[in-house]
Amino acid sequence: MKDHKNILIVDDEEVVVKSVIKIASLEGFSIEGVNDVFTAFQKIEETDFDLIISDIMMPKIDGFKFLAELEAKRISTPLIMTTGYTTIENAVQSLYHGAIDFIPKPFTLDEMTSVLHRGIRYGTLIKAYNSGSTILVPCPAKYFRLGYSSWMNKEPDGSVLIGATDLFIKTLGQVKNVDMHFPNGILIQASPAIKIEAEDGLVHQLISPLSGTIIDRNEKLIDDPVLLEKDPYFDGWIYRIIPTEFDYEMKLLIPCSSDRS
């Protein structure tokens, strides 16, 4: 494993490319920027990237096609999607099609920094997992997840528990603090649900797998945020919600049972 992390940013908007380059450089990553998918593939052939950040809306080849192309070429570099036309559909679709994360534009420096670190760690973790040097606890088979980050499980009473996956928590490093919504708050699918501060000072936002009204939250997390790390799928649940668009939104979630094949 090399220490130096390589990032590729693909965006037709030069100012965005430059911005991301600035942020990545500030964090000590090496980064290259291109303005279209075609050039991106040229770069990918030259260099081994650890993380790709791509805009969705680009002329000629858009982010979704880029993602499909990467998969077709069996390039497993993690990809984070970003777009200026931020719709929930865009975000959920990109996660459904294999992007590891989604960051809406305009993003702040801190938001991007967190996302970059998560993405890099994600790549490292997956590699380690594949080589058998680390364990990732998969979510229980009856759960569903949005991308790799959040899970949901429908309880017998019709309410839904949501939480963060082991992989997501592991990409954060050590959990230090959580900032949660109060009951009666509204969650929207693919919008931030909880802010988790890691030991390294970065604040990460976990996106909600479903839309709904919060009817209960796990108060234990406030006193003991590390519960998220210890038992992410049971004691470390975050909210209990009543989903509003359950049937529609469920279609965009990935069943955890598919992770065990």
């Binding site: 965006d11 908007e13 100012v15 965005v16 430059k18 911005s19 991301v20 600035k22 942020i23 500030l26 809306m57 777009t83 200026g84 036309y85 931020t86 719709t87 809406p104 534009k105 305009p106 993003f107 702040t108 420096l109 801190d110 991007m112 009473d157 019709g158 309410s159 009666n184 509204i186 839309s211 709904g212 009204t213 009817i215 009543i242 509003t244 668009e245």
Partner: protein, 625 residues
């Protein structure tokens, strides 16, 4: 040729008239000519009898000169075309025409044929068959001939002259022929008269039909054609003036209804297209703006990090970051507007929604120098509603307020509060019906801006309509007739006349009759049918008990709404602003609030301002799991 309805009608009616008059005339003329002919026949017979009798004596005396003279004299009469006496052998022995005398007539000539048609001659012939009508040549007028047989009598064969033997039965024939010229003329005159009458009738009928078709068909059809042309040129709201009550009148009304609906739909379409393109525009703008914003946000944050030891610069940079973040929120709002997804009801904080709505119109308020007064009740519970829709309601109400205030500044007060109300005075009668399920709701007569309940009233000998206030417990009833001092009253359904009076009940206040009107799915509403007092009862609603509401008042100090418009402002596309309107009309606001089981009402005073009150129900429990 016969493209016009009037001409077609005239043609058909003319043919009918011709047929009727033709048949009538045929029989009429026939009977007339029969009468005339029989008259002539009778006359001819009498004449021939007279001739026979007057020559009888001379015959007996065999004074041939005398007979000749008599026949001659009679033959002088212009109407008599011939008088002649034939003997048994058919020889003309006397005649008014001298040249005929001595001629022998063949038995087959028309004068003889009647008796000699068969081999054995007839001796007696009925007088009808003795006549014959003939023409001497095709151009001459008709002639009626009558044969009068001269029978052998005792005096004849016993006479001194002994001309006739005793055995002969018939001695000869007197043949008188009378010209039918006059009769024919009379008949021709009658025919002409009938023809003339037919022509006159047809002309008169044509005129009458033409006039009324023009009046009843042509004019309305022209009006309709004009109207359809107007509609095709794009004037969709063209209305035809009253065309009367006939089929075309009904067509006209239906046309008016159609154009009204067409106009509404096209307006709605226009509105939604406008909203859709606005949405696309917003989305495009958002996409374009977000990229440069990313740059601004990143670089300013970056500078912020690099200048940690320069507090003065930090302060300035913080402003840039903060304001850029604000831009981000605005663009996000724009995108939210563009999306306008299906209604998603969730628990919302109404104060927060109002604040969000204010943010949208804040700039415009400042431009119009509007002093915004917020009087929030911060203890309000959350309500179940679609945040986006409710936000739009407020944005539109605020824009209306801003427009009403105008450029010169004013005050806009937004007040939220919690109220508990008894169902009386707030519950709307939405679907009153009669027992046969005819709707009693009258959208043409609104009370307080909402359709009223229309019932037919019969009191004493008077008959009319009453529009009952659609708000339970309110009594702004409209009386179409004066009830005065009534002894008897009956309220009925305007459609089927079924009585709405509950005979088993008496008004607990005045002991008078009580009406009982079914409300679809909501039991019955009862009330004092004589309207002497305000007693009213709606059991289903009363049992539901008091309701809790969040009430939001939006009061502007603007120009106000004329009272005649107050009832109309919630109607679709009622606007005093023309196309300046911002998209959703008050009707849509009304629809949104109504969908949330809330109410919206308006009070206004010209020059002082307008106040909209929205009530949205609070449901304490989340019931859907």
């Amino acid at each position: 040729m016969f493209r016009k309805i009037s001409l077609k009608l005239i043609l058909v009616v003319s043919i009918t008239v011709i047929a009727i008059i033709g048949v009538y005339s045929y029989f009429n003329i026939k009977s007339q000519s029969d009468v005339l002919l029989s008259e002539v026949e009778r006359h001819a017979y009498q004449l021939s009898e007279t001739v026979k009798n007057s020559t009888r004596y001379e015959m007996l005396l065999n004074q041939q000169e005398h007979i000749d003279a008599i026949i001659n004299t009679i033959g002088q009469d212009p109407s008599i075309s011939g008088v002649r006496v034939l003997n048994k052998e058919g020889v003309i022995i006397y005649s008014a025409r001298k040249n005929e005398i001595g001629k022998m007539l063949d038995k087959h000539t028309e004068s003889c044929y009647a008796c000699h048609a068969e081999n054995k001659p007839l001796e007696r012939l009925p007088s009808k068959d003795r006549t014959r009508i003939f023409r001497t040549n095709p151009d001459s007028s008709r002639i009626l001939g009558i044969i009068n047989p001269i029978y052998n009598e005792r005096t004849c064969y016993e006479s001194d002259c002994h001309v006739h033997s005793r055995n002969a039965k018939i001695l000869g024939v007197l043949d008188v022929s009378i010209s039918l010229k006059e009769v024919d003329e009379q008949m021709r005159y009658n025919e002409i008269r009938e023809l003339f009458f037919t022509i006159i009738s047809i002309s008169v009928i044509a005129c009458i039909i033409g006039f009324f078709v023009r009046r009843w068909v042509d004019k309305p059809v022209k009006e309709l054609v004009k109207a359809t042309n107007q509609v095709s040129t794009g004037i969709l709201n063209y209305q035809i003036k009253e065309l009367g009550e006939d089929e075309l009148g009904v067509l006209g009304k239906s046309f008016n209804n159609m154009t009204k609906k067409l106009d509404e739909t096209s307006q709605q379409l226009y509105q939604s297209t406008k909203m859709a393109s606005l949405g696309q525009l917003a989305a495009g703008v958002a996409h374009e703006i977000n990229n440069p914003l990313t740059g601004v946000l990143t670089y300013s944050s970056f500078l912020l990090k690099r200048t940690k030891d320069n507090p003065e610069m930090q302060e300035d940079l913080n402003v840039i970051v903060r304001e850029t973040m604000r831009c981000r929120e605005i663009v996000k709002g724009l995108l939210d507007f563009a999306r306008q997804s299906t209604p998603k009801k969730s628990l919302i904080d109404i104060n927060e929604i109002i604040t969000r709505a204010i943010a949208v119109v804040n700039n415009q308020m400042k431009l119009n120098k509007i002093n915004l007064v917020k009087e929030y009740d911060t203890t309000l519970p959350k309500i179940t509603a679609d945040a986006n829709q409710i936000e739009q309601v407020f944005i539109n109400l605020f824009i209306n307020g801003i427009d009403a205030i105008g450029q010169d500044g004013g005050t806009l007060i937004i007040k939220s509060s919690r109220i508990t109300l008894s169902p009386k005075g707030i519950t709307q009668i939405k679907n009153a019906v009669c027992a046969k399920n005819h709707s009693l709701m009258d959208t043409n007569h609104k009370i307080g801006g909402i359709p009223s309940v229309k019932v037919k009233v019969k009191s004493n000998s008077n008959e009319g309509f009453i529009n009952i206030d659609p708000i339970y417990g309110n009594h702004r009833n409209y009386f179409g007739i004066s009830l005065g001092n009534i002894s008897q009253i009956n309220l009925t359904c305007p459609t089927c006349d079924l009585s709405l009076i509950d005979k088993s009940n008496k008004c607990p206040e005045c002991s008078g009759p009580v009406y009982k009107i079914p409300i679809a799915n909501q039991g019955f509403i009862e009330g004092c049918a004589s309207f002497k007092d305000n007693w009213q009862r709606w059991e289903v609603i009363d049992l539901a008990g008091e309701s809790k509401f969040v009430k939001i008042d939006v009061t502007d100090s603007g120009c106000g709404i004329p009272s005649e418009n107050l009832n109309k402002i919630f109607e679709p596309f009622f606007s005093t602003k023309g196309q300046k309107g911002t998209g959703l009309g008050l009707s849509v606001i009304w629809g949104i609030i109504d969908n949330h089981n809330g109410t919206i009402s308006v009070q206004s005073e010209i020059g002082k301002g307008t106040s909209f009150s929205i009530r949205l129900p609070i449901n304490e429990m989340i019931k859907h799991i």
